[in-house]
Point group: C2
Chain length 381, copies 2
């Protein structure tokens, strides 16, 4: 048989009767025409709350060849990533790793490892991420105590202490960068407070990491997670987490995504965290001033708690938010978005993350917004 190899559609395939013996059934589902057309992906400026655009070096990592997930180079890359996460989280925790899944997956990882059925769980619900945490907590069977606040607001130490004293929770959840409302939750003092009440502190930093300061160890955060597709300018699909309890882990890790994440972290290392934070603060300050020049109102009243990575703007009176986001997409290929969860219909969200946090991008989105406000229909109020 080996000698009979000929060049055919499978070039080295012998034409033997064995070829016909495999198919048990006729193929009832035909090859879809949609997959015969070439893949088209447009270029867009992604100024929504994420994903952001890929930084070119990160994008280059995405076209590297795949290697085995158990090769020694892969272990080196995973160790590089661990060190990079320790740096951007500012932690020395040994259990610091990339999770093969979105930020939502990291949240689930955290909650399933921290909560047992019946545990008291105090959740800051001032936006969609707290709602999600509360829902997952319910499913685990925890006694969930939501600390309800309007979107656009954040928590004081006193409010949290009242919750801790009343509910004696095993775990407190807070969102550092509330991307649905544009709020940055101050974190100083909460770790200490939780320690005093023997409660673990879990913080979501998906929309804030790298853009605004966070100090996991110094702020006493027990579990911290974030995503790859925001300030880190990586492709979505991976998240970052650090904690001290035990975990079990084995599957084919997303090798290509890890290359990209490694490069994302390397870029932060090269710039330095302080420079990253400063860039985001300045970018958002410049954006805020440009928005105010357009007569728009920032949704978060207190400047001290405005998230530097995602800016929320009140939908201008008389306008439909979707008209405005559609206008920017259709005429400028710029993504900004409407609200999410509790902020739906109330805000427009503009993200300036990582390499997208530039003066040029602020100018581009401001110009596009100015035009949208002129061109989109305005209902008389």
């Amino acid at each position: 048989m080996l000698r009979a190899l000929t060049k055919a559609s499978v070039p080295w395939a012998p034409r033997s009767r064995l070829d016909c013996s495999m198919a048990s059934y006729p193929l009832l589902v035909r090859p879809p025409d949609a997959l015969r057309r070439p893949l088209h992906v447009p270029s867009r400026l992604l100024l929504g709350p994420g994903p952001s655009n890929l930084q070119p070096r990160v994008q280059a990592a995405g076209r590297l060849p795949v290697i085995g997930h158990m090769h020694k180079e892969m272990f080196q890359i995973m160790d590089d990533i661990k060190q990079g996460i320790q740096y951007v989280f500012q932690t020395k925790n040994a259990l610091t790793l990339a999770v093969s899944g979105s930020g939502h997956c990291a949240l689930e990882t955290a909650l399933f490892n921290l909560l047992e059925p019946g545990d008291s769980f105090l959740v800051g619900v001032n936006g969609i991420w707290g709602q999600r945490a509360a829902e997952i907590g319910e499913r685990i069977g925890a006694r969930v105590h939501p600390l309800l606040k309007e979107p656009g607001d954040c928590y004081t130490l006193q409010e949290v202490e009242e919750g801790l004293a009343q509910h004696r929770p095993a775990l407190l959840f807070l969102t550092h960068g509330e991307s649905s409302s544009g709020v940055m939750q101050p974190l100083d003092g909460f770790g200490e407070l939780c320690q005093r009440y023997q409660c673990l502190l879990l913080v979501d930093a998906v929309a804030s990491l790298g853009g605004v300061p966070i100090y996991m160890d110094q702020q006493g955060i027990d579990v911290l997670y974030s995503g790859s597709q925001k300030v880190l300018n990586g492709p979505p699909g991976l998240s970052l987490i650090s904690f001290s309890s035990k975990a079990k882990y084995h599957h084919t890790v997303p090798v290509t995504g890890l290359f990209c994440l490694r490069e994302s972290l390397a870029l932060v290392v090269e710039q330095g965290l302080e420079t990253c934070w400063r860039q985001h603060r300045l970018a958002s300050a410049y954006l805020h001033s440009q928005l105010q020049e357009l007569g728009l109102q920032l949704f978060v009243k207190d400047p001290a708690i405005r998230l530097h990575t995602v800016t929320t703007v009140a939908v201008p009176p008389g306008y439909s938010w979707r008209d405005i986001t559609d206008y920017l997409m259709d005429h400028y290929s710029i993504e900004i978005t409407g609200g999410l969860g509790p902020s739906l219909g109330k805000v427009l969200r503009i993200g300036l993350m990582g390499c997208n946090a530039t003066q040029e991008n602020v100018d581009r989105v401001a110009k596009a917004l100015r035009e949208a406000l002129r061109r989109c229909p305005q209902r008389k109020l």
Copy 2:
């Protein structure tokens, strides 16, 4: 302030006192040197049980720019993927989608949606994937009934019917391509049998899909899942699943991975499933003949149940399997692997998947193996 923008390390940053007001703490974790070194990823021929090498068109999709996960082009791509999965699965199920996670994640997705605590769960355990399914079933609180078999063996209709009659399970799990043992489980008749016993049939086709025939609808498979990094030659991190029950879904989907998966499926569509299957059958037949010329023994005795995508070879007497896999890696940059789970120490595993299933690759691995058998130490028996 806007007028004061100057070119600095953040080019448009004003040098104001605000710049210093952000940092609450000094940075205790310094930027790691590991991330200042360039990323190095070697080129390897991946002839293990997966991941396999990226097909060039799939690799090209990995360097496309990211777009928003809610953009209309993304919905088109996800619809293309759905149609592609329906084709490669040979199913008309509406609930057919890519899962943002590895094949293991798809298995969890299936079991958490199909099993309730207390349900009877019959599991074919003839390798590691059945073991995993049984473990997850235990955690869900199902009454797990393992059908134990030696690795290298598969199930007959009669054996499964005895299990169905005895345990009256809600769900039966079978592995189509048992990558730890190299066994291909025949699937004809099992769907009908399960239907007769009012039991759902869940099949793992991670290591087999696209390489050997499977007909979800005609074979009466209720839930079927597979991975992207095997025959489809995509990057790891996504899986494929189809079932008819209800599911809930929302997070930032791994956009880049979906581009790649779309291209993987497009390639199968272009070739046609029959050609793919034929290519894998011929490649493995050629490999088997080459291995036998080297005096090696195939681990799966019955040729009818040898998996065409992953070939298992008994570790030759007197050799350490690791010496052989190391030799191929160090001298030829070829990955083949040892066993996994119950086949650990017993076998070498050679994968020929998708674009890797070529005569040239068989020749390369056979040449390397011939040399390894000459050069690796052989303990006298």
